[in-house]
């Protein structure tokens, strides 16, 4: 099992969800985050004093998947999130040792879906 974590532009979330649904990935967790990357920030002023805003709003998506879903999940996220502009984001993949469904106590691959 793998844990797929993606940081995307906030306004791409609906598109990513749609792309994942089409690929039969229905489960995910979403958090909002601030990101710092190649995308340069923007400037604000407040009462005449400059503020450099270089932590930009991002959305973080976490999806636990079985091995056979890894490829299509990544592909779905890319399909939904890519605009070709700096700031589109990153996908990180880590090994998932165990997954437990709290409601039933099921473990492992069957608990993921």
């Amino acid at each position: 099992m793998k844990l797929i974590t993606a940081y995307i532009q906030p306004e791409r979330l609906p598109a990513v969800k749609k792309a994942l649904y089409e690929r039969e990935v229905f489960k995910m967790s979403v958090t909002n985050a601030l990101g710092c990357g190649q995308q340069k920030g923007y400037r604000e002023t407040y009462r005449g004093v400059d503020i450099e805003v270089n932590l930009l709003k991002k959305i973080r998506i976490d999806i636990a998947v079985n091995e056979d879903f890894v490829e299509r999940t990544i592909e779905g996220i890319v399909a939904g999130a890519r605009t070709g502009k700096i700031g589109d984001g990153k996908i990180l993949v880590t090994e998932l040792l165990e997954c437990i469904r709290i409601r039933t106590g099921e473990k492992g691959e069957s608990a993921i879906g």
């Binding site: 906030p10 923007y42 604000e44 002023t45």
Partner: protein, 441 residues
Amino acid sequence: MKRSILIISATILLGALAAPAGEHAEAANIGESMAVSSFALDNMFLFVCALLVIFMQPGFAILEAGLNAAKNTVNILFKNVMDLCLGALLFFLVGYSFMYGDPLLGGWIGWSGFGIDTELSEAAGGGVLHPQLNWFFQAAFAATAATIVSGAVAGRMKFVSYLVYSAVLTALVYPISGFWTWGGGWLDAMGFHDFAGSAIVHAVGGFAGLAGAIALGPRIGRFGPDGTPRAMPGHNLTFAALGVFILWFGWFGFNPGSQLAISGLEDVNAIAQVAVNTILAAAAGGLFAMFATWIAFGKPELTMALNGVLAGLVGITANCDIVSNPAAIAIGAIAGLLVVGGVKLLDRLRIDDPVGAWPVHGLCGIWGVLAAGIFGGADLGVQALGGFAIAAWAFVAMLILFFILKGLGFLRVEAEEELRGLDIGEHGEEAYSGFQVFSTQ
């Protein structure tokens, strides 16, 4: 610190009375003192009512802010602040003169010089208004008309274009149609009845807003690719509700104040009736809009009930002086239903009016002048004509302006700026620093 002139005049009066001779002089003195007293009372009434109307500005500001996304809050607040700043200055400079000046160009506009008079031109007395205070009251109305629009064009219009719009509306468009009735122009001559401005103020704002919404097109994501409307919920309904309560409160300056005097018996009668009709219509509007959403959507919806209250207020504004209490309830109830229908209608037409400025102020503004015919005995034909003429004037004049701005590329912000929010793009300042706010659409 000073003392009033009246105590002196009262002393003079009493002094005069000591002399048996000159009884007529005494009586004349008394008459004059009483005239000044009535004058003071009426002008104080006008002053208080003008303040209530000015207080409607924050009502609009936070209602519109609350019904839009957090990322556009600074922009909306700023537009409302500038409506009052620009409105006061331009209505001072030329607007008042266009609206209440001597007829020009065959009665389509007025003019009597820049600025406003500083002194009374007639003897003080009941019903005589001080020109400065009269301007004060009228300026508050002009700013109201302007500020209605800011909600309809929220979330996508360039700030600089909005300033141009606001200046043109208060300096020119509102005064011209205002002149037709309140300035003694052609609609007044025909007997058109619009007591406190359902059409003259609200329909002007509502139809100008509609023109803006059409010229701008909907916000990104407001309608799906197949045209199905998608909700873009307001970010703070507490502000929205507070705004409506403030407007409701301010409306008691708007309607009763339009009697322009309180010192006579007839004035008190009129004001009393106007005040009661105003609260009853608002209450009925809110209640019926709530019922309508309950039946139509399965749950009672707050934002629609709030719009219903405003709809009732707009609907009663033209006719509150000539309809009975039960008629006021009926007028408000119908306005409450109309506003729900109007919102759905715009959705069907794929016009994006984020706060419902047209359903509330445009549609119910027209309803108000018609209701003056239906329930209040005014000539229905003239009412329909007047409502149509005013709405059409505001709509067409502003549509032209908005399309000129569009042609110049000044009207709408870039898509990216719109998505990130106008607060960052237009003002480089966000409204809710430190709060974690999602902006996923």
